[in-house]
């Protein structure tokens, strides 16, 4: 299993060749786009190993609220995947560039969701007036994304 295309040499700590501007969503890292990676359970194409003939149900957001939460979910997931990869390969500037781009997407989606709907954490901008927003809305285990 490889994260990368086979023709690109890599070692844990080899300095990566300078890369042109990262081609999201698929550079030499060979990533699924964030939507697809989130649905499949990994953004690394080389690590996707389906069980039997199970194909992922793609979560399809139907409301604006669901769409924004889906964005928060998928960008955080992509960030988390890249973070683990970078723990092992900390000199991969290309991966860091993609990480930085996803960071912006995540922050934007999270702020937008919190402005319009519920607080996701203690930084939420809508925790400034009564009624206390942390207790507004369904808890995640109650369903509906």
């Amino acid at each position: 299993m490889n994260y990368r295309d086979k023709n690109i040499p890599m070692g844990p700590y080899t300095k990566p060749k300078p890369q042109p501007t990262p081609q999201m969503p698929t550079g030499t890292l060979n990533l699924f786009p964030p939507d697809e990676g989130f649905a499949r359970g990994t953004i690394f194409r080389g690590l996707y190993e389906p069980y039997k003939k199970q194909t992922p149900l793609r979560p399809v957001p139907t409301t604006e609220r669901e769409r924004l939460l889906h964005d928060v979910n998928k960008y955080y997931f992509a960030l988390h995947e890249l973070r683990m990869y970078l723990d092992n390969f900390p000199n991969d500037q290309e991966a860091i560039n993609i990480f930085t781009a996803f960071q912006r997407n995540y922050t934007k989606a999270k702020n937008e969701y919190e402005m319009r709907y519920e607080a996701l954490d203690i930084e939420a901008p809508n925790l400034d007036s009564a009624p206390w927003n942390w207790t507004v809305g369904r808890w995640p285990w109650e369903g509906e994304m």
Binding site: M1, P12, Y13, F38, R40, G41, T42, F44, L47, Y48, E49, P50, Y51, K52, Q54, P56, L57, P59, L69, V72, N73, Y76, F77, H80, E81, R83, M84, Y85, D87, N88, F89, P90, E118, A119, L120, D121, I122, W134, G137, W139, P140, W141, G143, E144, M145
Partner: protein, 186 residues
């Protein structure tokens, strides 16, 4: 320090009650290869990793396992939601109800309570990382067994997703293990 975001890592929306399925999935909550075991195993081993990259990886994977624990709890909770006393009795959950009402509890599929004996920690990164790789494979196998048992697509989908995460974590641990071997860090 940990922070909580009020959302699941991946959505779980189960509408069909299925107490028998809840009884099997509970093993990924409090069984030997479940998510509680995984989270505590990695978060406990990270202190003795030989370099900062290993400490980072065990922290990040251990943290994700806590999010998986929440997903598994959500599955069991939704599968049991609205169950009547009669339904609980028919599914053999009357003993659970007698002791715990409808609370979740950390047990395996046989009802054995979670124990710290599920977790290895021998202070040797080769041994610890090998255990983690085995743990990920065992969890993958258990998720496959659960997928085989499940019939509702709303149950199968998060199980398939969690199974893929085991594949990814195994590979992350393997990369770290290989590097430690190659660099004679251990």
């Amino acid at each position: 320090m940990w922070r909580y975001e009020k959302r699941l890592e991946y959505p779980v929306n189960i509408k069909k009650k299925d107490l028998w399925m809840a009884r099997t999935i509970i093993t990924q909550y409090g069984g030997p290869d479940g998510e509680l075991s995984a989270a505590l195993r990695y978060l406990n081993q990270r202190y003795s990793m030989p370099d900062d990259n290993g400490k980072a990886l065990l922290t990040d994977i251990g943290t994700e396992e806590l999010a998986h624990l929440e997903m598994v709890a959500t599955m069991v909770y939704q599968l049991m939601k609205g169950a009547t006393i009669e339904e609980l009795r028919e599914a053999g959950m009357d003993r659970n109800y007698a002791q715990r009402g409808k609370d979740l509890f950390f047990t395996d599929a046989f009802g054995n309570p979670w124990t710290a004996a599920y977790i290895g920690a021998v202070g040797d990164p080769v041994a610890d990382l090998s255990e983690n790789m085995a743990a990920e494979q065992k969890a993958r196998a258990v998720y496959e067994n659960l997928i085989d048992l499940a019939t509702d697509p709303a149950v199968i989908d998060p199980l398939v997703w969690l199974r893929e995460r085991e594949v990814v974590h195994f590979e992350m641990f393997r990369q770290l293990y290989d590097r430690y071997k190659n660099q004679n860090l251990i």
